[in-house]
Structure formats: C-alpha cells, structure tokens
C-alpha cells in the first residue's frame, strides 16, 4: 500500500547497509524531523513547551535506559537517580563558571562514575540482585542529595540554573531550549541507531542473550556489562543536564525520586526493549496517556453527572503505568515497537501476504 514492495530485496550491499533501508522510511524520517523543526512556528508555544519538549528530553532518557535494559539485558531501577546526579553535577559545574557544553560532559561523567560503582557491586551476581542494588542506589542518592546542603542548596531549597548558551546560542525563551534539546536528541538517536551495528553493540546483545555463552565466544560479560552501565549512565547524566537547563530551570531533589525511575522503566517496557523507535513511542504513551485519560474521565463525569472521587483521579497515572507494564509484559513483551513492526511487515507486502520473506 504505502510501501509497494514485495519483501525487501536489494541489489547492492550499500543498500542493505543503510540505516533506513526503505525509501518510505527515509522519507518518513525526513518529514518527521522537518515537522519537529518547524513546530515552534506552527503550533502554540504551550504545546511546544508542555508536550514536545518533555517528549524529546524523556526520549533521550528512555534511549539511555534502553541501551542498558534492552541492549545489555540489565535491569535498572534507579535511573532517576542517575539523571539526578547528572543534573546536579552539571548545574554545580555551570555555577562554578563552566560553559554548558563542558558542564554536560561533567554531568555525564559524574553519573557514569557513580553508576558504575553501584553496577560493579551488583554485577558479581545475577539479574535479580541488580534490581535490588539499583533500587538501593535510588534511595541512597536521594538521601545524599537531600542531606548534603552543599549539593541540594539546603533541604527545602531549589537550585536555580544560571543563564547559559549552547554553541553560541543563548538558552532562553521558548524556542532556543527546544532546538538545543532537539539537536542533542537527534545526535543521540543516530548514536543509538548505530551502536547496535558496532562490535560493542553486538557484544552487548551476546551478553544479553546468555552471558556464559558470550564468555565462551570470547566476550567478557563482566567488562561489557560494566561498559553498558558506563555508557547508559553517561547518557543519563547528559540528559539530566539537558533536563535542568532546557526544561526545569530550577532543580530540587523531589524531581528525581523513585517515581521517575519507575516511569522510565515503564516507558522502556511499553515502548519496546531494545528499540530506538520504541523509546519515542513509549515516552509518548506514558507521558500523555494519563493526561488524556484524566480529561476523558473529567468529560465523562460532566456528561453523565457522575462524581469521580479525587483519590481515584489522583491515582489514575499509577494504575495506568502498572497496568500498561503488566499488560505489555504478558501480551506483547516487545512493546509498541513490535506492534508497529507487525503492522509494517503486513503492509510491506500487502496485498500479497504469501510474498513475505
């Protein structure tokens, strides 16, 4: 239909090596990127600041977490803390006078260093312990940030982000932060799309499938698990810096609690483990489904005159996250990305189903 192909067949090796193999996909990517570029001039600023910007930034976080969970098969329940470390480290670096570009890297390195310490403790034993260790990391990092006034700027205080610029563009107003985040997200997306084609990405996949089998074919599982932790935490830290500078502007400890970590895990699972596209889809669903559902319920309540208790409405997001995680794990463990690829595979050869490869 939209693809007009009977299976994917290539006549040249260059074609098969391309990042997006089908012309339709390439056009789709170009169109979506162009739309994102002109979005601030087309739609309301509230829409850009309230929906598009968080979507982009949380997608970066989800991609970082997905590298660890989907790429290397290691669970992380403290990714919110990783982002928090990055945010605090970079903001402190900027307050000390570093430019944003460097502060972002400082944030990434701080997150990576601390993340690896916790990872190393847990990687001596298997999956289940890792869940506990990262959960412990979340609590300990929360505690340290709140209790050390030098980091948080006092228990109840919030740390404001100084004015800064990225590659000569001052990050202020509504559009500049959006474009900075979009540029960084695009770079990260390209990195994530390519990483699985490198030896590093393939080694991670080997470790994910069976770690002792990986060690038999000469991939050191411990080393690659730690590397996955390092890279993923680095991305998390950089996302934290972007989050602080482009979105929050003022950071406080409660923005990086366990709730955030759980939300991120939900995003990754719902979107699809190991899929870059899935990251975006998952973030979209987890961010916007509670809002839409809440409005629908409000509308229904007005229409039919039923009073919905406030407790119920307040707990709707949690129900939705939990329900989505369980539903996807039971019914479609590979998430929205798999649903998308099923539809795509069907349409690819439509109406000649027998021509499927």
């Amino acid at each position: 239909m939209i693809y007009r192909r009977a299976g994917i067949s290539f006549t040249r090796y260059q074609d098969e090596r391309r990042l997006w193999k089908l012309p339709t996909d390439r056009w789709a990517v170009i169109v979506i990127f162009a739309l994102l570029l002109v979005a601030p001039f087309l739609v309301d600023r509230l829409f850009v600041v309230g929906y598009l910007l968080p979507l982009i930034i949380w997608s970066m976080a989800a991609m970082g977490l997905n590298l660890l969970m989907g790429g290397a098969g290691q669970i992380h329940l403290g990714y919110g803390a990783v982002i928090g470390i990055g945010a605090y480290a970079s903001v402190h670096a900027m307050r000390a006078g570093l430019p944003f570009e460097l502060a972002m890297i400082v944030g990434g390195l701080a997150s990576a260093a601390i993340g690896v310490v916790f990872g190393a403790a847990a990687l001596r034993v298997k999956g289940l312990y890792l869940a506990m260790a990262t959960l412990a990391m979340q609590y300990i990092v929360d505690f340290v940030i709140v209790q050390v006034p030098a980091i948080s700027g006092g228990t109840q205080a919030a740390l404001s982000v100084p004015r800064t610029s990225f590659l000569g563009i001052a990050i202020q107003g509504d559009r500049a932060p959006y474009y900075v985040a979009l540029a960084l997200c695009a770079v990260l997306t390209l990195f994530m799309l390519n990483v699985r084609r490198t030896s590093f990405g393939r080694a991670l996949a080997a470790v994910r499938e069976k770690d002792y089998a990986a060690s038999i074919i000469g991939v050191d599982p411990f080393r690659y698990k730690l590397l996955a932790f390092w890279v993923s935490s680095f991305i998390g830290g950089m996302t934290g810096a972007v989050l602080a500078v482009c979105y929050y502007r003022t950071i406080s400890p409660d923005q990086f609690h366990l709730d955030l970590s759980i939300q991120l895990v939900a995003m990754v699972i719902v979107g699809g483990l190991g899929s870059v596209l899935g990251g975006f889809l998952g973030v979209g669903l987890i961010l916007f489904a509670p809002i839409v559902l809440n409005q629908l319920i409000g509308l229904a309540a007005d229409q039919f005159g039923v009073a919905i208790p406030t407790d119920l409405r307040a707990h709707l997001p949690l129900m939705l996250y939990g329900g989505l995680i369980m539903g996807f794990l039971l019914l479609e463990p590979l998430g929205l990305a798999k649903i998308y690829s099923n539809i795509r595979n069907y349409l690819l050869v439509w109406p000649f189903r027998h021509a499927r490869q």
Binding site: A121, A131, M132, L135, I140, Q147, A213, D311, G322
Partner: protein, 295 residues
C-alpha cells in the same frame, strides 16, 4: 550516650525487625519455590491491610471476623495472581518476571488507594496505646505484640517446611523437573506458595497498620523486606529471622544515634545501605546457598 535509651532503642529495634521479617518471609517463600523475587510484596501487604479495613468498616464486621476473611481473600488473590500472570511468564528471562512484579506493585499502589481512599485509616486491634514498662525501659505495646506474632508465624513456617506439604515445596525448590517426574504437582506447590505469601503479607500489613495506620505508605515496607531477604540469603527462613533482627537493630540504632548528627532521614537509607554492603561483601547473604550455574 544514655545506656537506658540505647537498650530501649535496641529492644524496640529487635521487635520492629521481626515485623519486617514476616514480610520478607513471604518473599523467601516465593523465591524458594519458584526462583522469582516478588517485588510486589509491599503492595500485597498494603492490599491485605486495606481489605481488613474495608471489611471491618463497610460491612461492619468485627476485627476477628474481618482478619480471617481477609486472609482467605488474599490467599485466593495470591493463587489467582500466580495462575493468571506469573505462570504465563515461565521460560521468560528473570528480568521480565521481576518487571512484571514491579508493574503489579505500581498497579496495586494506584488501584487500592484510588478506589478505597488515600487518607490514613485506623485499624484498631484493641491494643492499648499505653507503653509497657520493663524496669526503666519503655516499650511500644503494638510493636511488642506485632514482633511476637511475627516471631511465632516465622517459627511456624519453619515447622511448616518439615510437614508433608513443606517437603513437597522443598523438593520443588530443589529441582522442578525432578519433582515433576516423581509425581509432585509443581504448579500447585508454586500457587500455594503465592497464596501463603500473600497471607503473610496481609498479616504483616495488619500488624503495621495497627501501629501506623493504613495507607499507601505500607507498600514502602518492601525495601526493608528486601534488605532482610538479601542479607538472610533469599532462600533461608532462618536467615530471615536473624537478618530481620539485624536490620531492625541497625535501623533503630541508626535513627537514634545518627539522626541527631546528620539531621534526620537515616531510617530510610539503612535498608539500602545494608543491601549494598551485602552485595559487596557477601552476595549470597548470611545463609543463602551459592548459586551454581551449569552450562
């Protein structure tokens, strides 16, 4: 530091630890039979306590009718949970199963307060608030009774593992395929383990609800129960008992001694620190079996 105060903290800590241990005994029970760490145990405790409160308040049942009824409901819920959700995950990687239980935890934390009210509810077991004096020591009556009941139940579950059904469960935990081949119904053993574990969670939720009221924060007991289960070694009930006392002591003493120095909040971080230290120095806990993986 005042010796009396220290002793008081230690004694209260021991009993609080025993109450934590009851919750982690459920985690250990499930881990022993099916090799899954149930991260929804905290939410199950919350659900159990809510069930008791709802039965008592909405249906006007007396506490002593409501609690057995809630235990029955939760047993059925645990069995159903295993049948509907966990059994379908057999053969999936461990990480998927863990995430399923996390999903369940989040879901219950939304559904239960959402439908039954988020405000703190009183759960009155008829324990008076007057503290008990032992010499000069001041002990909290609810915690003392809770710890005692927990100790009894944990000892009972140690005895249970020597009964006929307990031996079946031990066989299942040892080798599922071999148990299958000698005619043990493995699925049923695992389902019963989930049911019993939900009952333990309910008891623990009720005991905690009697001391601090019933609301969503009961599910926060999870991290403490996890710390105990890991320190005890994840597959040892005796380990739970001893680790529970250690964690309770550590927490109580840290709160009493460190809080004035660092300015509060140590209570929540002690459990995390214990998890981390255990993984660093003795990953298989105090009494856990070392896991050997065969290629």
């Amino acid at each position: 530091m005042d010796m009396i105060l220290l002793l008081e903290l230690a004694l209260n800590g021991v009993f609080v630890g025993l109450m934590y241990a009851l919750l982690s005994a459920g985690i250990v029970l499930i881990y022993k039979t099916s090799g899954i760490a149930n991260l929804a145990q905290g939410a199950l405790a919350m659900m159990g306590a809510y069930t008791v409160v709802v039965l008592a308040n909405s249906f006007g049942l007396s506490m002593w009718v409501a609690i057995p009824l809630a235990l029955a409901v939760m047993f059925a819920f645990g069995v159903a949970l295993e049948r509907v959700a966990l059994r379908r995950m057999i053969g999936q990687p461990v990480i998927m199963v863990i995430m399923l239980t996390i999903g369940l935890e989040i879901f219950l934390r939304g559904v239960i307060p959402g439908f039954f009210g988020a405000a703190v509810k009183r759960l009155d077991l008829g324990i008076s608030n007057a503290p008990i004096f032992v010499g000069e020591l001041l002990l909290n009556r609810a915690i003392l009774i809770g710890g005692g009941v927990s100790l009894g139940l944990i000892l009972l579950s140690i005895l249970f593992f020597n009964s006929r059904f307990g031996i079946i469960m031990r066989a299942v935990s040892d080798n599922q395929t071999a148990s299958w081949s000698v005619g043990i119904r493995v699925e049923r053993a695992i389902a019963v383990a989930w049911g019993l574990s939900a009952c333990m969670a309910t008891t623990s939720g009720v005991l905690w609800g009697a001391t601090q009221g019933v609301d969503w924060s009961l599910s926060l007991l999870l991290i403490k129960a996890l710390a105990i289960a890991i320190l005890g070694g994840l597959d040892s009930i005796v380990g739970v008992l001893i680790a529970g006392i250690i964690v309770g002591l550590a927490e109580s003493l840290a709160t009493g001694i460190l809080d004035p120095i660092v300015g509060g909040g140590t209570r929540d971080v002690v459990a995390s620190a214990i998890i981390l230290l255990t993984l660093l120095f003795r990953p298989h806990g105090l009494f856990g079996r070392e896991h050997i993986e065969r290629v």
